[in-house]
Every structure is written in structure tokens, then in C-alpha cells.
């Protein structure tokens, strides 16, 4: 039993989780920047700069139809992309949690071996102190 006492092994999950955390950040930041820099100005220009009659009368191939296409199409994949980022964070968190049981098992073994030694050393120290005081 005592021969098995060793430092806990570095779990593979600890190497994998940062990839998912970074992926989560990249996807969510990309969604935010596309929304802020691309979609919001186009939306503001399309709805705020053109009367309804102009928007409704826009011909195929016109800039207005192009803007409408962008405003309709991009959010269809951009929002799922942001949620994919959330999922990446969650996978990273799950990976971290999954490494804890092995660490606790190792800790139990280490404590099991160390406690008798702590008790023994404490008793010896107390005995030495009482001898000195005598």
C-alpha cells in the first residue's frame, strides 16, 4: 500500500480543457464583433435610412436587397455559433470536473499513509517534550 504513495498523475483532461475554453472565447467574441461591426450598422442603415416604400420597392440585385439578405441570413448561423461557444465552455468545465475523482482517490491514499506517521511523530515529539520538562 505504502509503495503506491506518489504524486497525483497529471490528468489528460487538464491538457484538453483550455482548448475548449479558448474555442468558446473565440466563437463568442466573433459573434459579438460580427453583430457590433457588421450587422448593427447595416440594420441601422437599412431601416433607419430608407422609407418603407423604398425598402419594399427594392429590386433584385440592388444594395437594399443585399442588405436585407445579410440581415436575414447571418443571424441564422451567428446565434447558433455563439451557443456553440457556450457549449465549448461547458465541455471544458465538464472535463475539469471529470479529473477531480482521480485526484480525490489519490488524496485518500496519500492521507491514509500519512496520518499514522503524523500521529506517530506527534507522540514522539510529545514524549521528547515531557522528558525535557522532567
Amino acid at each position: 500500500m505504502n509503495n503506491e504513495i506518489r504524486n497525483p498523475a497529471s490528468p489528460w483532461q487538464l491538457k484538453a480543457y483550455p482548448i475548449f475554453t479558448i474555442l468558446g472565447w473565440i466563437l463568442i467574441l466573433a459573434a459579438f464583433l460580427i453583430g457590433l461591426i457588421v450587422l448593427a450598422p447595416i440594420a441601422s442603415s437599412y431601416w433607419g435610412g430608407n422609407a418603407k416604400a423604398t425598402r419594399d420597392a427594392a429590386e433584385a440585385g440592388s444594395a437594399l436587397i443585399g442588405q436585407l439578405g445579410t440581415l436575414t441570413m447571418i443571424p441564422r448561423w451567428l446565434e447558433p455559433l455563439a451557443f456553440f461557444g457556450v457549449a465549448a465552455f461547458m465541455v471544458g468545465i465538464a472535463l475539469e470536473f471529470s479529473s477531480i475523482p482521480a485526484l480525490l482517490k489519490n488524496r485518500g491514499q496519500v492521507m491514509n499513509a500519512c496520518f499514522p506517521l503524523i500521529v506517530k511523530m506527534s507522540k514522539e515529539e510529545a514524549a521528547q517534550k515531557s522528558e525535557v520538562s522532567k
Binding site: N2, I5, R6, N7, P8, L14, Y17, T21, G24, W25, I28, L29, A31, F32, I34, G35, L36, L39, A40, P41, A43, S44, S45, Y46, W47, G48, G49, N50, A51, K52, A53, T54, P75, L78, E79, A82, G85, V86, F89, M90, G92, I93, E96, F97, S99, I100, L103, L104, N106, R107, V110, A113, C114, L117, I118, K120, M121, S122, E124, E125
Partner: protein, 240 residues
Amino acid sequence: MNEKKSSFPFSMIEAMMPMYPLIALMGWMIVFIAFLVGLFVLSPAQAAFFSAAKAVREGASIGSAFVSANVTWHVTEAWVPQFKFLGLGFGLMAIVMALGTIALRLRRMGQVIASHIPEKARPTMPPIPISVKVFQLGTLMGVMILMLALIIGIVLAVGAVPSYWNHSIANELNPAQPGSTLLAQLGVVSSFGFWLNPLRMLGMAFLFTGITVALTVIIGVLRQQAGVLVKFYQHASSTL
């Protein structure tokens, strides 16, 4: 065994950490209130607005039930999603606080065990890792972003949104010309969702990072304490 107290705002965060059940309850209640608003305000407003033919509801003038229902619907949609996400954010913050409390208890447990080890073999306590401050600040940042999103939602809900929608659709909103206040307001109410919704997700990303880093701290403490005990074991078994 007494450690140096952290500086502000970390001292405040650490004092708040054991309050995580209250924060979780608050988050849950906020999401529940958002559900009730959806059920009793948003849904009836939409039902009222869509209860008549398109020509009737769009031709309705200011003060009519249709215009009021349309205003209620759009105003509610401006602030409720931000409120709901703040509730979710409080839930995630409660998780970070609980993890922080676990990390703190683990450290105290390590100090207790170390205090029972005879002085000559006692290991020195490692310093508190910097990642503790990272997860505390990350969580604070995430909740602040979600609060900012709610404030923006409220500002829109009392400003541009009711100002724009409180008009007859057919007689005032549709004929609005470029350069008019109405069309400028339409630009605002149609575009804020494109950046405000991802901003909420950015707040969530900070909170998820807080959880990730808090777990890293716990794992680090467990590994470090096991390492210290293994060293003690090797030292003690060679001397006894």
C-alpha cells in the same frame, strides 16, 4: 493559521462567497419573474395585437388597444431578455462562489493538517495562487456586463422603443421619410438586438471563464496538497 486579509474588492468578494445559496435563489427568482412576465404580459399583448385583421391593427391610431398592445409587446421584448440573462448570470455566479468557498475550505483543511504535523517536518503553506483573483474578477466582470445589458435594455424600453411604436403603423410609421425622427428611431429599435444579444453572451463567457478558473484552482490545490503530503511521507518514513 491566520492569513493576511485581501485588499478591496477581493475582501468584499471573499466575504460574499459563502452567500452563494442566496445568489442562486435570486437568479432563479429573476428567471421565474421573466417567465411570469412572458406569460402574463408579453403573450396577452401579442394575442391582443394579432386579434384583428392586418388592415385593422395597422390602421389603429394612438390610444387604441392595438397600438397599446404593440407598445407593450415591444417594450417587454426590449428589457425582459436582458433581465432573464442577468438571472442566469446570478446562477453562474453562485456556482463560482460555491467553488471559491470549496477552494477556501480546502486551504483551511490543509492548514489544519499542517498544524498537526510536528514542527521539524511541517511543510510551508504555499501562497494563494493569482488565479483566485482572476476568477473573482472574471465573475465580477461577467455580472457587470449583464447588468450593463439590462440597463441598456431599460433605457431602450423607456426611450426609443415606446417612442417609435406608440404610433399608427399604417398612417405614421410606414410613411416616415428618411431624416425623420421616426425612421431614426426605427434604425435604433431594429439594430440594437444585433449587438446587445451577443454582448450578453460575452458576459456569460466571463462567467464561464470564472467557473473554469475556479475549478483550476481547486484542482491545483488538490494536486499541491497531495504533493506536500507525499513529500512529508517520504521525509517521515526515512527518519522514523
